[in-house]
Point group: C2
Chain length 403, copies 2
DNA sequence: TCATTAAGTCAAATGTATTGACTTAATACT
DNA sequence: AGTATTAAGTCAATACATTTGACTTAATGA
């Protein structure tokens, strides 16, 4: 009798959705092209000059854009370019890794203003929570010391940690599974900071960073192959980060390779974890990166062998990502010793033939990305900035309008 | 001096974009849930009753929805459900395959009203164009004979053929590469029919069909693994078909498997092409499907061996798709003899452990999909319907508003 | 000097969605 | 049987963001 299965539907939109979208489109245009005049913006966005004027005026009042010196270019009234104001918004990014946690504060254009890190005690989230919250609080107060009004312009806290999330059993990496998975991280961080909190995996964070300030800047279709303790792919599809149904899209580390008659996850063959095992190094060693950097620079034989093997696997991975996602470009990024990443990059070429080889290509099939230890924290911070300011379908819908 | 690099920006939107989106949201809600009252629609879409009334009135005038008998359910005025009118819109779908071309006419809800096929002469598109245009014209006129005003309600022609598109060289399938790739198919079809024409690959078409009338109905994240002459994946991501930067996303047939010390494209191991080779059958045989169906039903040993081997490869493919796309479900569909597909489906289980194994799953990880020979043509027809009526980000933007 | 070109503003108009009061029509309670 | 309650749906006025077209401003070029 009770026929009350829930009705599923997408949300509608209204004037505010329109306006929110147009604001985001303006900000996006200024981010991609640099400063533009109202007339340029009107042409590029296909809105009228008047609409652009209204929105720019509003954005200027909000401190997100500011006018620059007028530019004379031929006949007609000189144009007044408007550019993004870096201090218009800030976000905190937080990387939670196995033995360490890092936090950064970035501004609207993705510049890192504050960075700090702390060791994480063993024993999982219950012991680590205080360290993390203290680290965030420290970065936040340092930011407040550098810029005025930073607290009012803080749009959120982005957290990044290795995925996958919410998967039943099967963890052969006990770190992730047992301790953190059941811990209400988002709630704890939200309660402890009072900020809007988002969570993504390392690779997604790296992709978010590449899109804001790296090789994927202004691209609508890019895949970031991220090499860290594990390996994953961050996906920019249709101009937005793609998360999948459960936030686990791109977990290429779990893809199975067949070799020597048995199947092995890519993660066991091409990741820092596999390198540590190959070299019999303790991953908790605090000088880890320095040691590996040195070995890589000096052309150590054992590292060389790993690099060659890993590069072959990455070559296959890149081919696979090109085949399945058809991106404009693939970006190799990571959180790993820099010399190691550049050796890997060099060892990968030439790429396997794929559908990415097409007439009229302009971008390289593979590009180097950000690969310093702070890239994940940066990407974590880029998350809230992107959610708040980038054009996205979801931002138009009534169920996501805040004011 | 001439600083005129083009300015890149996304398009803005306006009232008409808002309205277009809300119309689409209504239609989508009715498609997913069946007939709904204005009040139900208002709650589900978060629009006001008044707005819903206005839009429904307009949709009813346009012949896209119609009222049904009032329903008494407890206190209050009885509600009047509105449902989609199947005859509200039509589209023609066209499959272009190696030796055959098929066309169907479908209505707004995806029912096939007319179907017809024709053999394609060898020699590529120049010889085939007339056959194809005649086939489309025939289906179109049969449709006009069945329903009134069908021409006025025809939203477009969707074509589907094997991918990939626009790839340089490397064709080991000479059929696709040499003949069709350079032929201006879209322009020829548009000129020959006067309709809006779209093009997608077989797998994408299959996914579009599954979303409209199949196992992906109402899902926002689904992957259709399509087995035909080749093999591909059709991707429904965020509720829309994902095409990639060049329309080639999902070409999993080109993914490389390592076996016996060498790498082989999946397509060479798990596709009808590989079966034909395995059985030494001529793919041009007109009774092909019937013969294979018979062999499959009688449990032929040679087919059994192929099924087992292909199933293992599909098992790996499904694991890979789950890993990279994190969909709600994977659907096995195809354009292949039905008995073969069901044997394959049965032989695939049990699936490999993956991130898809999570607490609270409701949908099966793998579901059977549409696998009759008409599925690609159906999906091709579903393309224009979807483009015209489903909620999509692009539909909001000014640069896509027609009227 | 003056026509031309382009940026940007002003004020009124337009198009959708929203608001709040109202009507209609059923069930539930007394 | 009568009345209160609940929910669907309508009406008319309002609010909000974009659009339109005329106008102003400020430069170049002939």
């Amino acid at each position: 009798m009770n026929d009350s299965r829930p009705i599923r539907a997408k949300s509608g939109t209204n004037h505010e959705g329109t306006s929110a979208h147009n604001r985001r489109v303006m900000i996006d245009a200024l981010r991609i092209n640099g400063a533009l005049s109202r007339a340029d913006l009107a042409r590029a966005t296909r809105l009228t000059k008047q609409t652009v004027s209204n929105i720019i005026e509003e954005l200027e009042r909000d401190g997100l854009v500011s006018s620059q010196e007028a530019v004379r270019k031929g006949r007609g009234q000189p144009s007044t370019p408007y550019g993004l104001v870096p201090e218009g918004a800030f976000a905190i990014g937080l990387q939670i890794d196995r033995h360490v946690t890092r936090a950064v504060a970035v501004d609207l254009v993705g510049s890192v203003l504050v960075r700090d890190e702390a060791g994480l005690p063993p024993g999982g989230p219950f012991n680590g929570t205080k360290v993390i919250l203290d680290l965030v609080a420290g970065v936040r107060s340092k930011l407040a010391g550098i810029v005025q009004q930073s607290e009012k312009r803080l749009v959120g806290l982005g957290a990044a940690m290795p995925g996958p999330f919410g998967v039943a059993g099967s963890g052969d990496d006990p770190w992730m599974m047992e301790a953190w998975q059941k811990f209400p991280l988002l709630e704890t961080l939200a309660a402890g900071t009072g900020l809007d909190v988002g969570l993504q995996n390392d690779a997604a964070a790296a992709a978010t960073a590449e899109r804001m300030v790296g090789a994927a800047h202004g691209l609508d279709h890019a895949v970031c192959l991220f090499v860290g303790y594990g390996i994953g792919a961050g996906l920019i599809l249709n101009g937005e980060l793609y998360r999948g149904a459960n936030g686990n899209a791109g977990e290429i580390g779990m893809a199975l390779l067949f070799a020597d008659g048995k199947s092995t996850p890519l993660e066991h063959r091409a990741s820092l974890a596999s390198l540590y095992q190959h070299l019999s190094i303790d991953p908790a060693d605090p000088d880890l990166y320095a040691r590996i950097n040195e070995l890589a620079l000096r052309g150590d034989h054992s590292i060389h062998a790993w690099v060659e093997a890993a590069a072959a696997d990455l070559r296959w991975s890149i081919h696979l990502l090109e085949t399945l996602f058809d991106p404009q470009t693939v970006i190799l990024c990571g959180s790993a010793p820099e010399a190691l990443v550049s050796r890997l990059f060099a060892a990968i070429g030439p790429l396997l033939p794929s559908i990415a080889e097409r007439r009229g290509r302009t971008l390289p099939r593979l590009q180097p990305g950000i690969a310093d230890p702070w890239s994940v924290a940066l990407g974590a911070a880029a998350g809230p900035i992107s959610r708040a300011f980038d054009p996205r379908f979801a931002a138009i819908l009534k169920d996501s309008l805040q004011s």
